[in-house]
């Protein structure tokens, strides 16, 4: 398989919108002319329980693999309380990126949870709350755009409007603010 395939694993809790985020990211990539998949972790959905969602994105070639994602390039954590109970970096590729919604700094995260390598943090909960949106999932897409170049703001606009109609603008604002505030440490 070519190195152009990017695999993303989303960690969240049921109801936080991890699946919706993955959907929006895939739709954005497809709008940009890329190939992409989004899929949930095929389990019964239970509010509050840890859930997973996945993306595969390839800018050049159609994606054929339908197996689960075992070696993600990017891991996104919507809820920092998951850090203490799950091995969120499991299978992460060398040189991969971990993006976390947390009040803490990258240094604190490293010290507390031993997450090495490329880490990006943003206080998406505060941004979402101040923007008046009930979930951090769309806000975290701003951090994803900042930390990686898998999709663009241009690509995400249309899927966001399709999904959220009147409140799309509010989500986009939160996303842009998260983009500004995301801190990345190599």
């Amino acid at each position: 398989m070519s190195g152009k395939l990017i695999e993303i694993r989303w960690h969240g809790r049921g109801g936080q919108g991890a699946v919706t985020s993955a959907e929006l990211v895939a739709q954005a990539a497809i709008n940009e002319g890329k190939y992409a998949q989004a899929f949930p972790s095929f389990t019964p959905e239970r509010r509050g329980a840890p859930v997973l969602a996945f993306n595969r994105i390839n800018a050049e070639e159609p994606i054929r693999s339908r197996a689960e994602v075992y070696r993600p390039d990017i891991v996104i954590i919507l809820d920092a309380t998951l850090l203490g109970i799950l091995d969120v970096t499991s299978g992460l590729k060398d040189g991969g990126t971990v993006i976390i919604n947390t009040k803490k700094s990258v240094e604190q995260i490293r010290a507390e949870f031993g997450i090495n390598g490329r880490v990006a943090t943003v206080d998406a909960s505060r941004i979402a709350q101040e923007a008046g949106i009930p979930a951090v999932n769309t806000t975290m897409i701003g951090a994803l755009i900042k930390a990686t170049n898998v999709i663009t703001f241009e690509g995400i606009k249309e899927p966001l409007e399709r999904r959220f109609a009147r409140v799309a603008e509010r989500n986009l604002k939160a996303m842009e603010r998260a983009y500004q505030e995301t801190v990345i440490r190599e």
């Binding site: 993955a22 959907e23 739709q27 497809i30 992409a36 989004a38 054929r64 197996a67 689960e68």
Partner: protein, 391 residues
Amino acid sequence: MAKRVGLEVSVAVGDAAKLADVDVVAAYPITPQTHIVEHLAELVANGELRAAYIPVESEHSAMSACLGASAVGARTFTATASQGLELMHEVLYVASALRLPIVMAVVNRALSAPISIWCDHSDAMAVRDSGWIQMFVENGQEAVDNVICAFRIGEDRRVLLPVMIHLDGFSLSHVIEPIILPEQSEVARFLPPYDPPLPLDPEKPVTVGAFAPPFIYTEVKWAQEMTLEGAKEVILECWREFANTFGRHYSPVESYRTEGAKVLLMTMGSLSETAMVAVDKMRDEGKEVGLIKLRLWRPFPFAELRQAVRDAEVLIVLDRALSFGGPGGPVCSEVKAALYREARRPEVVGFVGGLGGRDISMADFEEMVNQGIKLAEAGSEREFEIFGVRE
């Protein structure tokens, strides 16, 4: 121009039924098929699809309602999975015997017990003798294209049979991926209106589903069998016409990198795509391995299968269903039967795997090929192998 969009495959299947301009949808929701019928219910409720949506109390009723709708000449669509398909079982035989071209998306899911909502092909295999045309798809685009083709094939006067489109639960149904939805006008040109030869009509009464004593039942069943066998020609014709119109090609048995392959892997459904990636890797390593993908399950494409595997030394068949106490996987046993009379045929090794949603990764396919080659050389006491079971 048809647009390429990121869509959940289930939603796209519902959209395909809408593009086919269905008149009646009667369905009962069951995981992982739910999103298909939810989407259709929404399209009808929003006035985007002019059709009757019949809510029913069970899958048995869903299929029974479909019988009536199709018999009056309505273009009829439904979808189900797993236990739902099993609950329809007896009505399925009536649909095919009455020659009613209902189209049904079956979102393949394992059968209870224990309860599993995940994919395997046990449901599809349990209805293989019900007289329906059955085909498997590998991705969302194939699902959309073949739902549209299914109406054209089923409603053809030379066929008049119901069609199941099998798509794998979750690994297809719940994935968002790029899909090209054809334009309504293009579909309308490709798919002529359904014109049933003997519709239920008070002006011209007919009796449907009458009693048949032993002196005529055999003739009726043979007529049905000849029609299903003959449907293959119409399916091929439809796919040719589809390729001419929409540029996407389908065949009953599809080969991937089989040139000079001594070893062939054979799969059905969404796992075929992962298997293709595995074959690419093995080819890059210089191994003479190719992939055969079985698309058409009923009518079984005997001639195409024989042709596709004749030059191989080993054929490794993966089944996602278990025929308890029998020869292992239904696909493998039919492949063996199809090759029985051939003077030149590969050694056939059958694996059963991917049950109840168990993932089969690229590495698993490589492992299966390696094991298969060893078993073909050494022989086995067993009729089939189970893949990946913990001892």
